[in-house]
């Protein structure tokens, strides 16, 4: 059971990473980037190519971060910049971007799952259960970025200012904030984050284009259950969903993890629509 909990936390860390990535653009540009998980996968593929080319691991990470940032900025330019306000346009354009990136990665790197060659790992025993070393790295990364960004958002002036801008674009523009640049910077930062996490996530999931959609959806549920806009919530949601999934697979049988997550998600929607740490926002008049 401890082993199950460790694997739940490891997979939960991936969901948390996705949720953190969503929050980065949500809290600055006011856009949820559904293609974020695709950029993570691109990061994983870049490190695969880096391995083939014989690049040192640290260079692979840097290249992955740069490629991730470039892809995200390209997405912002093409799919977000000219979006009409309202009408849920970002739903269609970022889902479209996700479809494009999935197809593009499948065309470039093929449809079969590839092993990410950062390091070889063997399960280690910890607190009476087994865990892959990379799981610990994932958990650590999620915690560092989640907690770090949480304090960045709530304690620093820039973080608070960008929260305010996301809440009211027009007001931000009137105060002379360059909203377009803010949006580009937000996407570049989230893309770099995605690229950087790509090899680490890929080490656990393997590099495969078609897993991105599953991660995107689970990441959204983590974001939502935790409370949209809160990085601390993203961590709680991510780890919670991961644990739930893993323990349900253990206790109820393989395959039931997803059912349980779905059921809990519906329950949260019905009982506590603002999420666990979220505050109720009235969107009305």
């Amino acid at each position: 059971m401890i082993t199950s909990m460790w694997s739940g936390l490891s997979i939960g860390a991936i969901y948390a990473v996705i949720a953190i990535g969503y929050n980065i653009t949500l809290t600055t540009a006011g856009v949820l980037n559904f293609a974020f998980a695709n950029i993570v996968m691109i990061g994983a593929f870049v490190s695969v190519t880096g391995g083939v080319l014989g690049l040192p691991v640290w260079l692979s990470f840097i290249v992955a971060a740069i490629v991730g940032a470039l892809v995200a900025v390209a997405e912002e330019r093409v799919a977000i910049r000219f979006m009409p306000r309202g009408e849920h346009a970002e739903l269609i354009t970022t889902i479209g971007a996700s479809v494009v990136l999935t197809a593009a990665t499948a065309l470039i790197w093929g449809s079969t799952a590839l092993r990410v060659p950062i390091f070889d790992q063997r399960p280690v025993e910890l607190l009476g259960g087994n865990i892959m070393p990379n799981g610990l790295i994932l958990i650590g990364c999620a915690l560092i970025f989640g907690v770090g960004l949480h304090f960045f958002n709530t304690r620093t002036k820039f973080g608070l200012a960008s929260l305010a801008h996301a809440a009211d674009r027009e007001a931000a523009m009137m105060r002379g904030v360059n909203v377009r640049w803010l949006s580009i910077i937000a996407f570049a930062a989230s893309g770099a984050f995605a690229g950087l996490m790509g090899p680490i996530v890929g080490l656990t999931t393997t590099a495969t284009p078609f897993i991105a959609i599953t991660l995107a959806i689970k990441g959204f549920i983590a974001l939502y259950v935790g409370g949209v806009g809160s990085q601390a919530g993203a961590l709680i949601g991510g780890f919670g969903i991961g644990l739930l999934e893993s323990l349900a697979n253990l206790w109820l049988g393989t395959g039931y993890g997803d059912f349980t997550v779905f059921f809990i998600f519906l329950l949260v929607l019905l009982v506590r629509p603002q999420g666990i740490v979220g505050t109720r926002v009235r969107r009305f008049v």
């Binding site: 346009a89 739903l91 269609i92 354009t93 889902i95 494009v100 065309l107 997803d258």
Partner: protein, 631 residues
């Protein structure tokens, strides 16, 4: 009236009437042409492609009901399709093998999936609905894994579906083709009759922000759930038809690729399209039929299409075509089918406003706090029926908050609002509207794509209900109600001098005209209490005079009129009673002549903050506040 339509189009418009039999005739002729294709030499391969296209048409119409008509994105079409297909397949194997039974069973199964995902997903809508519906598509393999293999074949898929029969008669491939076309044609008529009706108008109204529909007594959630659930039906039927086409159901058919394909088809057709669905479905089917040649390039193209569609063409191929035509021939005469009933135009022009049952409004010690900010701090006043009560005060004094508390958008933190002696401050805004409270907004809320007369008629949607069945079958009751409400709307427009705009898209009209449209809509609900939020701003002098005349008529008809107004000249000439708000409290209230001379009022508003003429209390920076308060 002086305001000219702000339509960017040149060229004339010709209003025409279309005979009622024309559309059904075209429909029957169209079906007949498609049905005879196999018998005039179209081969089996093409026949199959047509059937697959028809299935795609069904799926797109289901998606459009949510995506286009209620503004929510449903990615769960493959799950509804799968539910229909597997259930119908199982029933055909084990219980009854009949195409019609299959279609019904499939529709019912899909409906269940729709309700399960829609009830929680639509509470918040937006991303939440998309993700909930997306997730259930991802769950399909696991669901099949969990169900014993003997029942649905597990992850291998369902095999052994018998050749289709109808009433016990085995169907040849050609026979099945005909049956598929007929069933789809029947659904298509149902779809058309739902969206081109009061229900469609209500859906379009509901999409225009979160405040408008409740202020008309329309529940957004219920309407969205209705559209979403009804949208599951064609997906289920499509699944049932597909099950009997290939007699085998594989898992790969019901994946995310299908969701993307259907969405792409909907984007090409236009999200609120009807007939153009045929084009979008055929286009996507053409590409997917060659997907072995294109491989992932097909998905790449569809993904780009989604991005482009999300940004550029909400109107789909028809919208693009129309825009091109407008560029090529801007001066052409457009033929527009008039929606105003002929008898309404023929009716006597002297329209007598019907008596309204006004109710006394009591605002009793209302307090409303937002976080730490006190917007209303124990305000009380009374508005009597048959009188015009004006609410004045500087910016931030709580006028609009007061209106929002009265019509139920905000619950008061303390205190109560009573209408005709009954407490309404505990009711939802939807319920308050149904008690006979109508209102207008600072920025007029006029839904896109509706004609002016239709916008006005939306006020009647909740007052006179017509069942969905009557709407779909266009029973006499539907026509009776529809004609009556459109005639009444036209009569009100005539009263306001706006009848020449009745058939125009209301959103394209000038601000003053849109404001008057809102007023007309508020009047059309025959309100007991009518709340007007800065109804005169943006109107020119003639329009203000006209407006004052109308408001007199309305109050004399018996209604209680409450207006928030910055134009003091209008208040002076119109209001019987004035309530002055300052800092969330009632500074003073009384007859207009008294207020005018009240020393506090003079000092606080008319002296210091007034414009040069001394008649206006408007500050130049109003625009910003409007947007924030009413959105």
């Amino acid at each position: 009236m002086t305001s000219a339509p702000a339509s960017p189009l040149k060229g004339g418009v010709k209003y025409v009437r279309r005979p009622a039999w024309l559309l059904p005739l075209l429909w029957i002729v169209g079906i007949a042409i498609v049905v005879i294709l196999p018998f005039v030499g179209v081969g089996a391969q093409a026949e199959r492609q047509i059937v697959l296209t028809v299935i795609m048409v069904l799926l797109v119409s289901g998606l459009n009901l949510t995506f286009g008509w209620s503004g929510e994105l449903n990615m769960g079409i493959p799950a509804m399709y799968a539910a229909g297909a597997f259930t119908a397949g199982w029933v055909a194997i084990h219980l009854v093998n009949d195409v019609l039974v299959s279609a019904l069973v499939g529709a019912a199964a899909a409906l269940i999936v729709g309700v399960i995902t829609g009830v929680p997903g639509l509470r918040l809508g937006g991303w939440v609905l998309s993700i909930v519906s997306f997730f259930i598509v991802l769950l399909i393999p696991f669901i099949l894994q969990v169900i014993p293999e003997e029942v649905l074949g597990g992850t291998i898929g369902l095999i052994g579906i018998p050749l289709p029969q109808i009433f016990g008669i085995p169907l040849t491939p050609d026979g099945y083709y005909v049956v598929v076309i007929l069933i789809a044609a029947l659904w298509f008529a149902v779809y058309r009759n739902i969206v081109k009706s009061r229900v469609g108008d209500a859906l379009v109204t509901m999409q225009h922000g979160e405040a408008l529909a409740p202020s008309l007594g329309i529940s957004r959630y219920r309407l969205k759930l209705l559209a979403y659930a009804v949208g599951a039906i064609p997906a289920g039927i499509a699944g049932a038809l597909y099950a009997s086409l290939d007699l085998f159901l594989g898992l790969e058919t019901f994946g995310i690729t299908l969701a993307v394909n259907v969405l792409a088809a909907s984007i090409v057709s236009g999200r609120r399209s009807i007939y153009a669905i045929l084009i979008g479905a055929a286009f996507v089917q053409f590409i997917t039929a060659r997907s072995s040649d294109f491989g992932q390039f097909g998905q790449l193209a569809f993904g780009l299409l989604l991005i482009a569609g999300g940004i550029l063409f909400g109107g789909g191929i028809v919208g693009v075509g129309r825009a091109l035509l407008n560029r090529v021939a801007p001066n052409r005469t457009r033929r527009v089918v008039s929606v105003v009933p002929a008898e309404a135009i023929a009716a006597a022009p002297a329209y007598e406003f019907p008596a309204l049952e006004g109710k006394r409004l009591e605002v009793d010690d209302v307090r409303r706090v937002f976080g730490g900010a006190v917007a209303l701090d124990g305000a009380s006043f009374v508005a009597e029926p048959g009188r015009i009560t004006a609410l004045i005060g500087p910016n931030g004094s709580g006028k609009t908050t007061m209106l929002n508390v009265i019509n139920g958008f905000y619950k008061p933190t303390a205190g109560a609002v009573r209408l005709g002696g009954e407490t309404i401050s505990t009711l939802s805004s939807t319920r308050v509207a149904r008690q006979g409270v109508a209102r207008t907004f600072q920025t007029p809320f006029i839904p896109a794509d509706l004609r002016m007369v239709e916008v006005v008629a939306t006020a009647n949607i909740m007052a006179e209900k017509v069942s969905l069945l009557s709407t779909i079958l266009r029973l006499p009751r539907y026509w009776r109600v529809r004609r009556r409400e459109l005639s009444a709307a036209y009569a009100i427009l005539r009263l306001l001098g706006l009848e020449e705009f009745a058939d125009q898209p209301a959103q394209s009209l000038a601000l003053g005209t849109r404001r008057m449209t809102e007023l007309a809509r508020a009047l059309a609900s025959r309100p007991s209490l009518i709340l007007l939020d800065e109804v005169a701003s943006g109107l020119d002098t003639n329009e203000v005079v006209e407006l004052a005349k109308v408001l007199r008529v309305v109050s004399q008809a018996g209604a209680t009129v409450v207006l928030v107004e910055h134009n003091f000249a209008l208040v002076r000439s119109l209001a019987d009673h004035v309530v002055v708000l300052a800092d969330g409290k009632v500074l003073t209230s009384g007859r207009t002549e008294e207020i005018e001379k009240h020393p506090d009022v003079l000092k606080r508003f008319l002296g210091e903050m007034s414009g040069l003429s001394g008649t206006s209390m408007t500050e130049p920076s109003r625009g910003r506040e409007n947007k924030e308060e009413v959105r």
